[in-house]
Amino acid sequence: MIRFILRGLLRDRSRSTIPLLVVAVGVSLSVFMHAYVTGIMGDMVRQSAHYSEGHVKVLTRPYAEMAHLNPIDLSILNASELEEVLVRQYPELDWVHRINFSALVDVPDSLGETKEQGPAFVMGLDLLSDKSTEIKRLHLTEALIRGRLPQHAGEVLLSEQFAKKLAIKVGEEFTLIAATVYGNMAYVNFTMSGTIHHGSPAFDRGSILLDLTSARDFLGMEEGSAQILGFFADGFYHDDKALEMKNSFNTLKEGETEDEYEPIMLCLVDNPTMALYLGLGSQMGMWISLVFLLTMSLVLWNAGLLGGLRRYQEFGIRLAIGEEKSHVYRSLLWESLAVGTLGSTVGTAIGLFFAYLLQHYGLNIEAFSENASQSVMMPGIIRARITPVDFYIGFVPGLVSTLIGAGLAGIGVYRRETARLMNEL
């Protein structure tokens, strides 16, 4: 009997090929969409974490409240001491210091007169020490376009786009002008050792990377840091652990002193945009599955109904010959199981194939995201990310919806009187 059903399936394209195509297309779209959204969300979260948020970050409460202004006068003063505490209490994280500030770049001509000027976002981070993990974290070696990474104090990296705009060449000096932590204006010459492409329009527009020590000297911050960022060793954000850490740190600090500049810890989800993306990322699988399941069930139900109508003659003959209604119904379900399994397998394979292409090669969208803000680091090249979920996110709904579709359509066989089926022969 199984062979009889399979023969029917293989020979009748409207029974096999069309539903198989519908399932395969639906499943492949689900798999691809899930991998795509996981990739893009992951990239945005990762890039934002690496450049500005960290997985957790420690900063003073007033700084946190005005972080969008980069208020360096509200920075942590005894940052090294605090780092020691953090390393001791939370050794599973890599702790790094960051100082972000706004400045003006003045590029002189051969006579020392201003040739070009432009506002810059400057990030002070550890570029020179032996234990630095920042170069690897921000992929600076790979991002280098011209010149080399800074090797000495006073050397900086400019974004390639910014350097071109300022018409400054590798090895040339320029003056950085900014307000110090005491409110004075500081004017210091720096040498551009190289240019980099961040792959993030917000940073590529006009950013400078400066060694942490040089930044401290420039701004008069001594041992200070605007923020201390913590990163999980595996590079991924773990919400439960981060929240646990945040609560333990903040509880510990609470009541220890009444210093309003007492540092607090924030985690990635404290940034509302990041919280939204992380929330979307975690619930997306469920929503994609649900929408797919409903849509495909409806589509396959209709396909099944149409197929069922077309097959009333066959059902009538089979019933007349002595097949039971329940047997006809079960055979419909077996057919749909075979179609669903094959369609879901093919769909998953196709979805994974295209997701792999997008993961490997990426899609450059820099032209569309030139005006992106720095609160969320939108990557210039979007990539899919294949996760274990992708192997079943389309497969299971594909199979279930096929069965539901056939099950609903097959009810028609039950509801129709046998004699009526016969009369329609």
């Binding site: 023969r7 019933l319 007349a320 010959i321 046998t418 004699a419």
Partner: protein, 235 residues
Amino acid sequence: MPETIIQVDNLIKQFPVGKGFFTALDNICLRIESGEFAGLIGPSGSGKTTLLNILGSLDSPSSGEALVLNKSIGKLGAKEAADLRKEAIGFIFQTYNLLPVHTVYENVEFPLLLLKRTKKERNLQVEEALEWVGLQSKRNSRPNELSGGESQRVAIARAMVKRPKLVLADEPTANLDAKNSFHVLDTMKELNERLGVTFLFATHDDKVIQYLRRIIELNDGQIARDYTPEKNIQS
């Protein structure tokens, strides 16, 4: 003494129409013995197909009794009715109704699959049935590759392959030309004589009527005449 295959007493079949009922069969009494080659004849709407459906356990009477092989059709559940059709009744339809995606061999084999016969048994019985209807050479053909006459002969083979006690044939020659009609009727007559299978036709085709050994004439849902023709091809 011949076995009673069909016994119908005071059978009434009504269908709801609007707020009332349409009586398709009105107080039918009938007895058919094993080995008969009988036909229900009458104009369209006289109740031939309705009676055939009830005797084939595809429908049930509104009142009265219809016994087929000693089973009361009105009291059969869906499974028992299906079992009766599967084991003891063969159907032949006006439009052949072969399964279009299956070959001649597979169409004839299908009733045996339902009976869970072994592959060896199936093979023997299908080949035998194809031999009866002279279609061994077409075993791998699909229905759309057959002529009308060939298709109906496949349908006969499918109905006969399980050696049923009763074959119900609803207008089996309506779609056939004269030559093919006679060929098909000759085949059925031969099987009736050779295997002793009871045939009951519903027809108003004169060609079929020529072959019948008993004619039950229906009119407005009632038996108008039940007689043995003086001359027929068999006699």
